[in-house]
């Protein structure tokens, strides 16, 4: 048992962090609310660095990279609030498409995935979609996209109408289940990053903001709120890393591990958002201040790829409804 990342994985994470610090400052996240496609402009730089295509089986095989390394990077993208379809493309669609129809992957292809709404669908070349536990690749031109508004203005969501007859079937129930688990794992990692950002910025605010002549962070009521955020994060994060390992190794209990992680990560991030707003007070209630960008991301991602209640129910079916004699 060695439950930690390798030096290579950490070094790559640090390099991505440096890049995002430069390419995705809070102003870019804010701009994505009002620009044409809801995106950061950092995609090309991420592509150049090898982040976007990291999960392509050929690249991953050559570099010895798997879902564990990808998860660590997605956590960073959450921390910086990166408005890009990185979970949808890199974590979910690219490995599935490249495995089943490698010729569909070109230098310019961008895939998205999801359901019932798909983010950034108009930016994509094709959509990875599930119907009746079958996995399909749907060309964007073969789908009817209807724009829906997310609470997170950078997440451009689309309801998708499509017919399997106009799509390429690329996998069965196992492929569909793996794609879903990759999506849930990916947003769980991002939620950890979002929660960490909310905690860090709120601690900073509580140190700087004075009332009654002292920093508000010296009041016990505020301290205990923030300690609760740290508590949720401390115990959610290892679950996400463990789920990444289970996905990478195709563990038989993978789905239970992913659901445990997603439920905890969603809860950690929504608690972080709730406390962040309360500690900031009225300034946090404005859209002029950056806090709302991360709060709304937390709410959006907590709901995406199965919310906490949905994932707990999935865990429940596995641990409560099976025959006890089959368990260890």
């Amino acid at each position: 048992m060695r439950f930690s990342f390798t030096d290579d994985q950490l070094a790559f994470r640090d390099a991505v962090r440096d890049l995002l610090e430069k390419e995705c400052p809070p102003q870019r996240v804010r701009d994505a609310w009002t620009n044409v496609d809801g995106r950061s402009g950092a995609w090309d730089a991420l592509e150049e660095m090898g982040v976007v295509g990291l999960s392509h089986p050929e690249v991953a095989g050559a570099l010895g990279v798997d879902e564990i390394a990808v998860t660590l990077i997605l956590e960073e993208t959450g921390r910086f609030g990166l408005p890009e379809p990185i979970v949808e493309h890199t974590a979910v669609a690219l490995p599935a498409v490249a495995q089943h129809i490698p010729e569909a992957v070109t230098d310019t292809s961008l895939f998205v995935a999801g359901g019932p709404m798909v983010p950034y669908a108009t930016s994509a070349t094709a959509l990875l979609l599930e119907r009746d536990r079958q996995l399909y690749l749907v060309d964007r031109s073969a789908a009817t996209l209807t724009e829906r508004a997310s609470v997170d203005g950078s997440r451009r969501l689309y309801a998708v109408e499509w017919e399997p007859s106009n799509a390429v079937e690329i996998g069965g129930p196992e492929d569909a289940a793996l794609a879903f688990d990759r999506g849930a794992l990916g947003v769980a990692a991002q939620l950890i990053g979002v929660a960490q950002h909310l905690l860090d910025t709120t601690v900073e605010y509580a140190q700087a903001r004075h009332q009654f002549g002292v920093p508000i962070g010296s009041f016990q009521a505020v301290k205990h709120h923030l300690a609760n955020v740290a508590l949720g994060l401390e115990f959610a994060r290892p679950l996400v890393y463990r789920a990444a390992h289970s996905v990478a190794r195709r563990d038989l209990d993978r789905s239970v591990h992913v659901s445990t992680a997603k439920a905890h990560a969603s809860d950690a991030a929504t608690v972080a958002a709730r406390v962040a707003l309360q500690v900031h007070g009225a300034i946090g209630y404005t859209t002029e201040y950056d806090l709302h960008l991360w709060m709304k991301r937390a709410w959006a991602l907590a709901a995406a790829w199965g919310d906490a209640a949905w994932h707990r129910a999935r865990v429940g079916r596995a641990i409560l409804d099976t025959d006890p004699s089959e368990e260890q």
Binding site: M1, R2, F3, S4, F5, T6, I68, L199, V203, A206, Q207, V214, P215, G217, S218, Q220, V222, K223, H224, L226, A227, N228, A230, L231, E234, F235, A236, R237, P238, L239, Y241, R242, H245, T260, A263, H264, A309, R312, A313, V315, G316, I319, L320, P324
Partner: protein, 383 residues
């Protein structure tokens, strides 16, 4: 990242499981927090010691197996999975022993550790006083130098001493320099409860057991060889022990995994009449035990690679103590009108509920732990 156990670890687990399955007493022993039950538990401790399972992580010379932290966690998982008895020696082997290994002289280690491991000498903790609980540095029990006797004379009162009425010795803090600052001038003493001038009065706990005691000291003599760490160094020495207490040595994940598994068994017996909200709480209990397990593996990997525990251990204490309360609350909901019964097959849940409620109080209240997290992990200003 490699989340499989090594062959060696698996063999260790198998050996522990086989021994426990063959030896765990059936039916379960009476509570170790009663006089009769305590004696029965000491017999069990002797069996553990003879089979070298009492202190697996200790050096072989003191009865251990020099097990790694990971193996210790595995042993704990197996121990609680097997439904083995509570460890009435825990305050010695998990709280005092780490301090002895760090600060004790070779003479103290050789003299004290083997008798502690075998249960021949049972230890209790003497920290809280009537006017010093969360504010531990406010203790007033004092020790005065007895030059002629070659030791110290202790006077004062300790309270909430777990199993104090049944134990042989007490470790605790006493004020040796009344002029010094609150945190200075304290010394860590190892006290013989049979010494002249020591009176122990049992106190009945919330759950009805005589698990508590008050300890009164009046000019009780403690020889120099029973000072642990330096004179007036007691605060620093004691804080090393609280680190162990809050961290993973007091309440390992195996305990809560076993409780969550019992909760699932209970759910299955009541599933027909279960409210969906209670079902959800059962699932949360299991998931939270998992969270604790994996957070521990994460921490232990860091420790095995040379890291140290710090104030993060307060997060651990918060998590397991509140998890234990939640799991027991859910069990009582499943039991419905039978929750109040303290006889019969399900009585352990009401008993366990009451014990779980002590978790957020002992080893530093959870209010204090949240302050520690806020100030020392997050860096918020002290008042």
């Amino acid at each position: 990242m490699d989340l499989t156990f090594t062959e060696h670890e698996e063999a260790f687990r198998a050996e522990a499981r086989a021994w426990l399955e063959a030896n765990v007493p059936r039916p379960a022993l009476p509570s170790g927090d009663t006089r009769e039950g305590f004696a029965r538990h000491l017999e069990w401790e002797r069996m553990l010691f003879d089979a070298r399972w009492a202190v697996v992580s200790w050096p072989e010379v003191y009865g251990g197996r020099e097990a790694s932290l990971m193996e210790w966690l595995i042993f704990e998982e197996e121990y609680y999975r097997a439904g083995a008895p509570q460890r009435v020696t825990q305050n010695g082997i998990f709280l005092l022993a780490p301090t002895l290994f760090e600060f004790g002289t070779a003479e103290q280690q050789d003299r004290i550790l083997p008798r502690m491991a075998s249960g021949e000498e049972a230890w209790c903790q003497g920290w809280s006083e009537p006017n010093a609980g969360s504010d531990l540095a406010g203790i007033t029990s004092r020790a005065v130098r007895d030059e002629a006797g070659g030791g110290w004379r202790l006077t004062g009162q300790k309270t909430w001493t777990t199993r104090g009425a049944f134990c042989d010795r007490l470790f605790g803090l006493f004020r040796t320099d009344p002029e010094a600052d609150r945190h200075r001038g304290l010394t860590y003493f190892l006290v013989d409860l049979g010494a002249e001038g020591v009176t122990v009065r049992p106190v009945e706990r919330l759950d009805g057991d005589e698990g508590f005691a008050e300890v009164f000291l009046e000019d009780a003599f403690v020889p120099d060889r029973d000072v642990l760490g330096g004179v007036n160094e007691g605060w620093r020495v004691a804080m090393a022990t609280t680190g162990s207490e809050r961290g993973l040595t007091l309440r390992s994940p195996g305990r809560f995994m076993a409780t969550a598994a019992r909760l699932i068994d209970l759910y299955r017996r009541h599933a027909d009449a279960t409210d969906p909200a209670v079902r959800d709480a059962v699932i949360r209990g299991w998931m939270d035990a998992e969270a604790y397990r994996w957070q521990t593996f994460w921490t232990v990997t860091r420790l095995m690679e040379g890291g140290r525990t710090g104030p993060e251990s307060s997060l651990v204490k918060l998590f397991w103590s509140e998890l234990d309360v939640r799991i027991h609350a859910t069990a009582l909901e499943l039991l419905g009108p039978r929750a109040e019964l303290v006889d019969g097959d399900d009585a352990a849940w009401m008993k366990g509920w009451q014990f779980a409620l002590s978790g957020p109080i002992y080893a530093g209240t959870n209010e204090i732990q949240r302050n520690v997290v806020a100030e020392r992990v997050l860096g918020l200003p002290r008042r």
